[in-house]
Amino acid sequence: MQGNFMSLEDFNTERQMTKEEEEDLDDVIVEPGKVFIEIVTLDSEGCAPCQYMCEAVKKVLPKYGEKVTWRESLVKTRAGIKRMAKLGVKNLPAMLINNEVVFDNIVPAEKQLIEEIDKRLNI
């Protein structure tokens, strides 16, 4: 991995942004009866805790079909760092459910995760 910026100041200016990073990672408006899970990671392909937090979510997805959607926000991108600051997330990985931090640096057991999802789906 190599740094692409000469300084943090450069990093924060628009001219250093790549196309891929231009899209901001905003809150998702959650429709009633649905749940949105966001995992803020360093990179689930290079960080075991990040990988297993993502795996925990992928494992329960089939149970819910279209009711549950998820995304991984990588902090290796400018958008990811902005998102982390906006959410006030201090530790990686962190799992948000409906834009609220629920599992901070703890990979939940399947039952715990299902409980948190069901609660929000009013099941």
Binding site: G3, L8, F11, G46, A48, P49, I106, E110
Partner: protein
């Protein structure tokens, strides 16, 4: 004082002439020789050349041989997903296909064991008198995750005996790999167990502490220094990590250095490792990195401190 002496003294909690500097140049060293992560971690020559280049460029007191926590899992039959910029990730968990009883301890000739062990031998001969070399092994709890997947979190609650058995097996693998490393001339074993940051202190005490203590003791019997590395917010487990009898602990930027210094010093355990990886090391300029290092040196300096990245 050579860099090697400096690191080993810090790990013995003895005075040093200046704070030792140990950049954990893992797969990043691939960049230094124009290779990608996969080309690097699959080649003894590339690892040797990358570490030698890191030695030349970073003027370190200590260096790891190869930073890849998937070597043991791969040798046991887990599939890996390779990428160009990161170490590989475990893509399949062998315990979903086989039972624990069917798994055998890997031999020196299995998987990529010979690649890293031969690289360690060559590096010990080339620079082992100047720098302290770290043999990296996957910590028992992280290896257990690799073998079983996230089901482990449910079983820790519902079927703990099964997890005790799995942890015992993973600890044996770690002891065995440490023994193989001990014959290569390296000085230190780094037990890297990032998944331990993802469990509560209660679970750490029950499922990790006895096994890490056993492993650290076994590493010391081999005549090597034992260090344990954890990433993420390990604050809650720092004291427990110290109680596993290591010579040193390392953690990342989520742990407050002053807090870790106070805790580790109580146990006469060396400490270090929290230069911020993304905000400063990946995105910052050289000047910003120097400023950060100065700030950390001011907090950490003294007995047992090793300056290193998170």
């Amino acid at each position: 004082m050579t860099g090697k002496e400096r690191v080993l003294k810090a790990l013995s909690f003895e005075p040093v002439d200046r704070t030792p500097w140990v950049p954990y140049a893992g797969v990043q060293a691939a960049n230094l020789i124009g290779k990608d992560a996969e080309e690097y971690l699959k080649s003894e020559d590339n690892i040797v050349n990358g570490v030698l280049k890191a030695f030349e460029m970073y003027k370190p007191d200590g260096l790891p041989v190869a930073f890849d926590l998937q070597i043991e899992a791969e040798a046991l039959g887990c599939d890996l997903k390779w990428s160009k910029q990161n170490p590989p990730a475990v893509a399949s968990h062998i315990l979903s296909e086989k039972s624990l009883k069917e798994l055998k301890l890997p031999k020196e000739t299995d998987g990529r064991y010979p690649i890293v062990l031969n690289a360690a031998r060559r590096l010990s001969e080339a620079i082992g008198d100047k720098v302290a070399l770290y043999g990296i092994i996957c910590g028992p709890f992280t290896l257990a995750l690799h073998l079983m997947g996230t089901e482990i979190f449910t079983k820790m609650i519902e079927e703990p005996d099964e997890i005790f058995e799995l942890m015992e097996f993973c600890t044996e693998i770690a002891k065995d790999f440490s023994k193989m490393y001990s014959k290569t001339g390296i000085d230190i074993i780094a037990v890297v167990d990032p998944m331990t940051s993802q469990i509560s202190p209660r679970h750490f005490k029950k499922f990790v502490k006895p096994y890490l203590t056993d492993l650290n003791r076994a590493i010391k019997v081999l005549g090597l220094k034992a260090t344990i590395f954890c990433c993420g917010d390990a604050t809650k487990n720092i004291e427990l990590m110290c109680q596993t009898e290591p010579d040193g602990i390392a953690f990342d930027e989520n742990v407050d250095l002053a807090f870790a210094k106070e805790t580790a010093s109580k146990y006469k355990v060396s400490f270090g490792g929290n230069m911020p990886l993304t905000t400063i090391m990946l995105f910052g300029s050289p000047v910003e990195n120097i400023e950060e290092a100065k700030k950390e040196l001011a907090i950490g300096k003294g007995l047992g401190y090793i300056l290193s990245p998170g």
